[in-house]
């Protein structure tokens, strides 16, 4: 599985669109997740999705510390690298 930050970023964008709160093209990787309708409840869903996809256990605090798609992608990539 390709786990570089830009692949993760694209995957995250797909997830955010799938949650149905925003349309493709209406945001950038730098838009704060909170503005994408990603409230604390969706943060929980996202954690589950990250775990399923990358087999990586994360707590919602990862979203707190990485509040945009870009930063989150880096956060995930970093943890994957550390776990490898």
């Amino acid at each position: 599985m390709n786990t570089d930050a830009s692949t993760i970023e694209a995957w995250l964008e797909g997830r955010v669109v799938a949650y149905g709160k925003v349309d493709i093209g209406s945001f950038t990787p730098e838009t704060p997740l909170a503005e994408l309708g990603l409230d604390s409840v969706y943060a929980l869903t996202l954690c589950g999705d990250i775990e399923d996809r990358f087999d990586l256990e994360v707590d919602p605090t990862i979203v707190w510390d990485h509040p945009t798609i870009r930063s989150l992608a880096h956060g995930i990539a970093g943890r994957l690298a550390a776990a490898a």
């Binding site: 909170a34 409840v41 869903t45 775990e51 707590d59 919602p60 605090t61 707190w64 510390d65």
Partner: protein, 573 residues
């Protein structure tokens, strides 16, 4: 503190010692009907009526050194197994919930420091061991449960400067210190709050004002008040955890504090049931004591079953703190919802049996019941109210419904064994804000049912397990929402009841007489009652097991005993 008392409480860290500590504590508190005991019920009722703080009782409990069980061993205290202080808090609550709340809240206020560790833990430990009440300063006026909306500010520089009000807070006025949640950054988001320990002795008194006592429904004597901070300057080393990590620490603390509140309700249940049983056995009613009437047996038995369920959930939650620390995000909410809710129900349903006695005070020995009925309501409100806890369960629907990790039910039972105790203090690093797979207790329900084998109690257990199946399927399909539907709350409530069934089975199977008739009678009545509450069994069908349990409870009352899922735990050598 007298050296004799001290010696009793200074045992080696073994299960046996833990049992002795709890037993001795209970013995020291004495018979509340005895006016010379530490917390006599008549005095409690009088203080409550006058809204007076139970200062004598608190001093006596301090003297017994309960606060030492609030501090982990590593920081110089006695805390190893959470169940031990929980059982002591229950012993107090059984006599006067106001006293238990007033003393126990220090445990809540201190937990954050045990989670973050570091030098603040030492400071906190000194404070608590010194007998200083610590309060838990989260809530603000008009803001309720929404902690992310906290308005008290902490500007962190060379000093921490606090501005704002915390209200309503238990022990805000009499407390020595308060663990305060405050906003430390203007940035939106969850990393903008910090936790600060405000030791009133180390802050300029002119910058602190206590707010007047609030009149409360129950626990009328408690110091429910507030603290206003006006540019109060605190040393940065009083930060509990890193700046910006306050909300995370609070959310993790709540996972421990919520189970810690369950013994308040379990003690309340002990009290309410005790009044009813005593009345049944001794009432001079013409035509013989009510105990002879068949409906009395099933009414009492149902109440006893509810009390046992509350106790089982408390015990299981205490065990899970050590054995499934990573699942406490869910377990804490399940327990914090189910225990006070069940005890409130018990109290309401037993009141008509007591009739006017349930309302009277100061006549013919009555008074304790009307107090405990009001007091117990506090447990479902503070430290996260029932709706917030149901909401937390709803938020976990996704993890609860995730494809199964197989659970070995016998391992679950093993960790509930009465003769087992956790190795030591839990690892706070394992606390998570969300679980990965819900609770192993829930997942183990089908396996636990299998362990019951041919026992009668397997019948209601099977119904409950298939209900859980159905409910989890529905939960999986429930829409995710910041404000979940009422339907989702209902599912959450049902999941909590099924969780109760798991706790009941696991704790009973972990007992010394797991195969015995008494254990089966308790379990059958608990499970029948849960099945009735779930609507999968009609009330009439549950009356046989309730009557049987009622008989056992009446017999125990005549012998001066009380039924318990921990039967033998305290009494064992």
């Amino acid at each position: 503190m007298s050296t004799a008392d001290h010696a009793v409480l200074d045992e080696a860290p073994t299960v046996r010692a833990a049992r002795r500590v709890v037993r001795e504590f209970e013995r020291h508190l004495g018979d509340p009907r005895d006016a010379a005991s530490v917390i006599p019920v008549d005095r409690s009722v009088g203080l409550d009526e006058r809204r007076e703080f139970p200062a004598d009782a608190i001093a006596a409990v301090d003297e017994l050194g309960l606060q030492r069980w609030y501090v982990p061993e590593a920081h110089g205290g006695e805390l190893r197994d959470f169940l031990v202080p929980m059982l002591m808090i229950r012993s107090i609550a059984r006599r006067d919930l106001t006293v238990a709340v007033a003393h126990g809240v220090t445990f809540l206020g201190a937990v954050g420091a045990w989670i973050t560790g570091g030098p603040i833990a030492r400071t906190m430990a000194e404070l608590v061991l010194d007998g200083g009440p610590v309060s838990w300063g989260l809530t603000e006026r008009g803001r309720g449960s929404d902690l992310s909306n906290t308005a008290t500010t902490a500007s962190i520089g060379g000093h921490v400067v606090l501005d704002g009000e915390k209200w309503p807070i238990n022990n805000a006025t009499r407390g020595r210190a308060m663990t305060v949640l405050a906003r430390s950054s203007d940035q939106p988001g969850p990393r903008s709050l910090s936790l600060v320990l405000v030791d009133k002795r180390r802050v300029d008194a002119a910058t602190l004002t206590t707010l007047p006592k609030v009149a409360t429904h129950g626990t009328r004597g408690a110091d429910i008040s507030g603290l206003a901070m006006r540019r109060a300057v605190v040393d940065p080393e009083m930060l509990v955890g890193e700046p910006g990590h306050g909300l995370e620490t609070v959310l993790k603390s709540l996972q421990l504090t919520r189970p810690l509140t369950t013994p308040l309700s379990v003690g309340a249940a002990d009290h309410a049931i005790g009044v009813a049983l005593e009345f049944a056995v001794t009432s001079p009613a013409v035509g013989g004591p009510p105990a002879r009437r068949p409906s009395t047996r099933s009414t009492l038995g149902t109440a006893v079953a509810d009390g046992l369920l509350a106790e089982a959930v408390m015990v299981a939650a205490a065990r899970e703190m050590h054995h499934a620390t990573h699942e406490m995000a869910l377990v804490s909410s399940l327990a914090k919802f189910l225990v006070p809710n069940t005890v409130d129900l018990l109290v309401r349903e037993i009141a008509p049996f007591l009739g006017e006695r349930s309302q009277l005070l100061g006549v013919a020995g009555a008074g304790g019941f009307q107090k405990v009925a009001r007091d117990n309501r506090v447990v479902g409100i503070f430290d996260g109210n029932s709706m917030v806890n149901l909401n937390m369960i709803v938020n976990e629907f996704g993890t609860i419904a995730r494809p199964d990790d197989p659970v070995d039910a016998s391992l679950v039972v093993a960790s509930m064994r009465h003769d087992a105790a956790p190795d030591g203090w839990l690892d706070p690093g394992r606390l998570r804000l969300v679980t990965r797979r819900g609770s192993r207790l829930l997942r183990a329900l089908p396996g636990l049912v299998d362990l019951l084998g041919p026992r009668e109690s397997a019948r209601p257990a099977r119904r409950i397990a298939s209900e859980l199946d159905r409910v989890v399927d529905l939960a999986a399909g429930a829409p995710r929402a910041a404000m979940p539907s009422a339907r989702s709350f209902e599912l959450a409530e049902r999941i909590a009841l099924c969780f109760g069934a798991s706790c009941a089975i696991a704790v009973e199977l972990g007992g010394p007489d797991a195969a015995g008739a008494a254990s089966e009678a308790r379990l059958r009545a608990m499970l029948d009652r849960i099945a009735v509450r779930l609507g999968v069994l009609d009330a009439a069908s549950a009356s046989a097991s309730a009557s049987l349990l009622g008989d056992l409870a009446l017999e125990a009352t005549r012998d001066g005993r009380r039924l318990s899922v921990l039967e033998g735990w305290e009494a064992a050598p």
